[in-house]
C-alpha cells in the first residue's frame, strides 16, 4: 500500500483514465513523464506542454511567502506550485493523505504576475496547468532565515524556464547580489482535497491569536486534540488513545465561551479529533497576519478545515479526523444525520447534478437551521457554486487508504481525505478555490463510486 502511495498522482490518473474522459489529454501527458521515471526525460518534452510562469515580489512579500513554505513543510515533503489565473497557489498533501494544505497568493500579491496557459489542441480547448512538484527539502533552504531575507532581499522572482523542467527562484539582494536557485521539478498533477466548506454545519471563526493562546496549553508532545462543541460551549481537549495512558499522560481540557468567537455557528453537536502538528504549522503562519481563522467541521470522521481568508492571501488546511465508529453508532441523532449525508454521497458519485442540487440545498438548509448568526456565509450557497461542486465529482480521482475503509474492527481511526486533481477544466477557473466534500464514510460509498480505488 505504501508503495502505491509513493508512485504519485499521475499513476492514479492513469488508472482512472478510462472513466475520466475530460482528463484524457492530461493523463497522456503525465504518462510520458512518469513511465520513464527519469527526471532526465523532462527536458525532451516538447515546448507546447510547458506553460510559463513568471512572478516577482518585494522583500516583505518574500517573508510572507517563506512563511507559507514553512507552514506547508509541516504537512509534507512535497510542494506543488500551481499558477492559475487568480494567482499562484502552493499545495501540499502528506504522504498518508490525511492532511492537505494550500495557500493562494492572488495576483495583487505580486509586483509582476504573468501566467500563460497554452491551448491544448488534441481533445478539448482547455488550458493546461503547469504541473510542478518540488521537493520540500530543496525549497525550504531558499527561505530559511526569513528575518534576514526580509532585510536583505529587495526582489524575488520565480519563473519557469521554457524547455527544461526547472523552476528558478531568484533573490535580488542588497549590494547587487543575486542568488539564483535552479530547482528541477517533477511534472505531476496537483491534488486538492475534496471538501465543501459550505456544506459544514459547524463554523467557528476565531482570531489567530486566540487559537494560538489555546494551543500553548497543550504540550508539544501532544499529537492529537479533540474539539468538542455544543451551541453553548466550545472545548479543546487532549486526545488520549488508551485508557492505560490516562495514568501516564497529562490530560488537558480548555473551555471557551461562544462569545469569544468572531463567528459561531453550531448546527450539530460533535467531537472531532485531528493532528496538532499540522495545525501548529498553520498557526505559525497565521500569527503574522491579523486575519481570523475559520474552522469548518462536521461529524467525527469528516475532515476539518482551517482557513485564512484575507486580502493578500487565502490559506486552507484540511485535516482528517478520527472516525469514532462506536460513538456514532450509539448516538441516534448523529447516526441519522450521517446516513443522510451518506445518501447524498451516493447521489453525488452518480453525478446526477440536476436532481441533487435541490436535495442538497434542502439538506444544507436543515443543517443550517440551528445557525446562531446567519451572515455572509449564507452567500456561499449560491447556485453556481453548488454546480461547480458537482462537476468535478465526475472525474474525481479518489485516493485513500485501505485501513480507513476496511478495518471496521478498529475502534477509531483517521479517515483519509478524498483528493481530486486541480481540474484543468475551464469552468473551474472561476472557482478554483471551492473544494468538494466526500468522505470515506461507508463501504457502499466506495463500491458505488466508479472511480474509487482501494489499495
Amino acid at each position: 500500500m505504501a508503495g502505491s502511495l509513493g508512485v504519485g498522482p499521475a499513476r492514479k490518473e492513469r488508472e482512472a483514465q478510462g472513466a475520466s474522459e475530460h482528463a484524457r489529454g492530461v493523463v497522456a501527458r503525465a504518462e510520458e513523464v512518469f513511465l520513464g521515471r527519469d527526471p532526465g526525460l523532462c527536458s525532451e518534452i516538447p515546448d507546447r506542454t510547458l506553460e510559463k510562469m513568471n512572478c516577482e515580489m518585494g522583500g516583505h512579500q518574500v517573508k510572507v511567502f517563506g512563511r507559507a513554505i514553512h507552514a506547508l513543510a509541516r504537512i509534507s515533503e512535497e510542494l506543488w506550485l500551481d499558477p492559475t489565473e487568480r494567482g499562484l497557489a502552493l499545495r501540499s498533501v502528506n504522504s498518508c493523505r490525511s492532511a492537505y494544505a494550500s495557500v493562494l497568493f492572488p495576483t495583487s500579491f505580486f509586483q509582476l504576475y504573468q501566467w500563460s496557459a497554452t491551448l491544448q489542441i488534441c481533445d478539448s480547448n482547455m488550458p493546461l496547468h503547469l504541473k510542478c512538484k518540488l521537493g520540500m527539502k530543496s525549497v525550504l533552504p531558499i527561505f530559511r532565515c526569513l528575518n534576514i531575507l526580509e532585510r536583505n532581499v529587495e526582489k524575488c522572482s520565480i519563473f519557469t524556464s521554457a524547455n527544461t523542467c526547472r523552476v528558478i527562484f531568484q533573490l535580488f539582494c542588497k549590494h547587487g547580489i543575486i542568488k539564483t536557485h535552479n530547482l528541477s521539478f517533477q511534472e505531476s498533477e496537483p491534488l486538492q482535497a475534496v471538501f465543501a466548506k459550505n456544506m459544514c454545519p459547524n463554523i467557528l471563526k476565531v482570531q489567530s491569536r486566540l487559537l494560538a493562546d489555546i494551543m500553548i496549553h497543550f504540550p508539544l508532545s501532544q499529537e492529537e486534540i479533540t474539539l468538542a462543541v455544543t451551541p453553548m460551549k466550545v472545548c479543546f481537549k487532549s486526545y488520549i488513545e488508551d485508557e492505560i495512558d490516562f495514568a501516564k499522560c497529562m490530560y488537558t481540557e480548555m473551555h471557551l465561551d461562544p462569545d469569544e468567537f468572531d463567528y459561531f455557528q453550531i448546527g450539530v453537536d460533535t467531537e472531532v479529533t485531528f493532528c496538532l502538528k499540522e495545525l501548529r504549522g498553520l498557526l505559525a503562519f497565521s500569527e503574522a497576519t491579523i486575519a481570523p481563522v475559520s474552522i469548518y467541521f462536521d461529524l467525527s470522521g469528516k475532515p476539518v478545515a482551517f482557513s485564512i481568508d484575507e486580502m493578500v492571501l487565502e490559506a486552507t488546511f484540511v485535516l482528517a479526523t478520527l472516525a469514532d465508529v462506536q460513538s456514532s453508532r450509539s448516538s441516534p441523532s448523529s447516526l441519522c444525520l450521517s446516513q443522510r449525508l451518506k445518501r447524498s454521497d451516493l447521489m453525488k458519485s452518480k453525478a446526477d447534478a440536476g436532481d441533487d442540487l435541490t436535495n442538497t440545498e434542502k439538506e444544507s438548509s436543515t443543517v443550517r437551521a440551528a445557525s446562531k448568526r446567519p451572515s455572509r456565509h449564507e452567500r456561499q450557497l449560491d447556485a453556481t457554486e453548488l454546480e461547480s461542486f458537482y462537476v468535478p465529482a465526475v472525474k474525481r480521482l479518489d485516493t485513500h487508504i485501505a485501513e480507513a475503509t476496511e478495518n471496521y474492527q478498529v475502534y477509531s481511526k483517521f479517515c483519509s481525505l478524498f483528493f481530486g486533481a486541480v481540474s484543468p477544466k475551464q469552468h473551474d477557473f472561476n472557482h478554483p478555490w471551492i473544494n468538494l466534500a466526500t468522505v470515506s464514510d461507508s463501504e457502499e460509498d466506495v463500491s458505488n463510486g466508479p472511480l474509487s480505488q482501494v489499495f
Binding site: F246, M250, T252, E253, H255, E260
Partner: protein
C-alpha cells in the same frame, strides 16, 4: 484524603512556578508530600538517579490563599504523591496571567492532581483550562523512605560564589571532562578542578566565607587551609546549577571529604537541598 489549594496573587503564582520549574529540571519523577503547613518535593537517593537526592521544602502560607487538606488519618495528617514535576511545571507555565489557579487532588480515570486555571478572556466569562496530572498515591508503609535527610557530618562548609558564574565555569569544564573535583577549606576558598591526560584546569574562588554552624566540633580542630575535596559527576553538578530558578538569597555547600557534596539554597520560605555523592 483530600487536598485543595488556590493561588490568586500573580507574584505567588510566579514564585511557585519557578520552584516547580526547578524541581522539574532536577528530577524526572519525585514525591510530593503535603502537610497542613508545608509542601515538600522529595527525590530520594536511588541507584536509578545516580545516588542523587533532593529535598525541597516550602511553607504553604507564602504561596496559597487557600490551602485545605485532610490526610490519611488524624494522627498522620499527610499525603504522599508520586508525580512527574515536568507536568506540573508545564501546567503552571501557561498560567502566568491567570486570575486564579486551583490545585486539587481528584480521582478521575486515576488519581490526579488537577490544576484548574481561570484565564482572562475577550468575553464576560473566563476561559477555563484544566490539566489532570496523573499521580500515584504512596501508601503509608512506604513513607519512611522519604524522611528528611540529616545534614551530614561535613568537613568544610562554605558559601557558594554567584551561581551564574559557577555555572558558566562548569559548563565549559563539562566539554573536557566527565568529573569535577570540588574542594574547599575554612579560609573561604573553593576550587573547581578537572584533570585529564592532556590538561588540568582549576578555577579558584576566594573570600567566599564560611557559615557558622551550631555544632562546629568536627571542623574546630581542622587546619583552616586544609582542603576537603570530593570528585563528582560534572553533569549532576551542572544540572543543579543550570536548573535552579529560585534565585537564592543564600547558597552554600557542605563537603564530606571523598563522600558527598551537600548544596543548600535558601530563598525566603523555600529551601532546597541537593546531595551529590562523591565518585570513588
Amino acid at each position: 484524603m483530600r487536598f485543595r489549594a488556590k493561588i490568586v496573587d500573580l507574584g505567588c503564582l510566579n514564585h511557585f512556578t519557578r520552584v516547580s520549574n526547578t524541581i522539574s529540571k532536577l528530577a524526572k519523577t519525585c514525591t510530593l508530600r503535603l502537610s497542613p503547613d508545608k509542601l515538600y518535593f522529595i527525590l530520594s537517593d536511588k541507584v536509578a538517579n545516580g545516588g542523587v537526592s533532593m529535598w525541597c521544602e516550602l511553607g504553604q502560607g507564602n504561596f496559597f490563599d487557600e490551602f485545605q487538606m485532610e490526610g490519611v488519618a488524624a494522627d498522620h495528617n499527610e499525603i504522599y504523591l508520586e508525580l512527574t514535576p515536568e507536568n506540573l511545571s508545564r501546567a503552571l507555565k501557561t498560567a502566568q496571567n491567570a486570575k486564579t489557579v486551583k490545585i486539587k487532588l481528584t480521582n478521575k480515570h486515576c488519581p490526579c492532581l488537577t490544576v484548574a486555571v481561570e484565564l482572562p478572556s475577550l468575553s464576560s466569562s473566563s476561559r477555563i483550562v484544566t490539566h489532570d496530572i496523573p499521580v500515584g498515591v504512596i501508601p503509608r508503609k512506604l513513607w519512611t523512605d522519604f524522611r528528611e535527610p540529616t545534614v551530614p557530618d561535613f568537613d568544610v562548609s562554605i558559601y557558594l560564589p554567584v551561581l551564574k558564574t559557577m555555572k558558566s565555569v562548569v559548563e565549559r569544564m563539562k566539554n573536557i571532562s566527565n568529573h569535577v573535583v570540588i574542594e574547599a577549606n575554612l579560609k573561604g576558598e573553593m576550587n573547581l578542578k578537572i584533570e585529564t591526560d592532556l590538561v588540568c584546569i582549576t578555577t579558584h574562588f576566594k573570600d567566599l566565607g564560611n557559615p557558622l554552624w551550631a555544632s562546629e566540633d568536627a571542623s574546630q580542630d581542622r587546619d583552616s587551609e586544609n582542603m576537603a575535596e570530593a570528585r563528582i559527576d560534572i553533569k549532576k553538578l551542572l544540572q543543579f546549577l543550570a536548573g535552579q530558578q529560585v534565585n537564592p538569597t543564600k547558597a552554600l555547600c557542605n563537603i564530606v571529604h571523598n563522600r558527598i557534596v551537600h548544596f543548600i539554597l535558601l530563598h525566603e520560605d523555600v529551601s532546597l537541598q541537593y546531595f551529590i555523592p562523591a565518585l570513588s
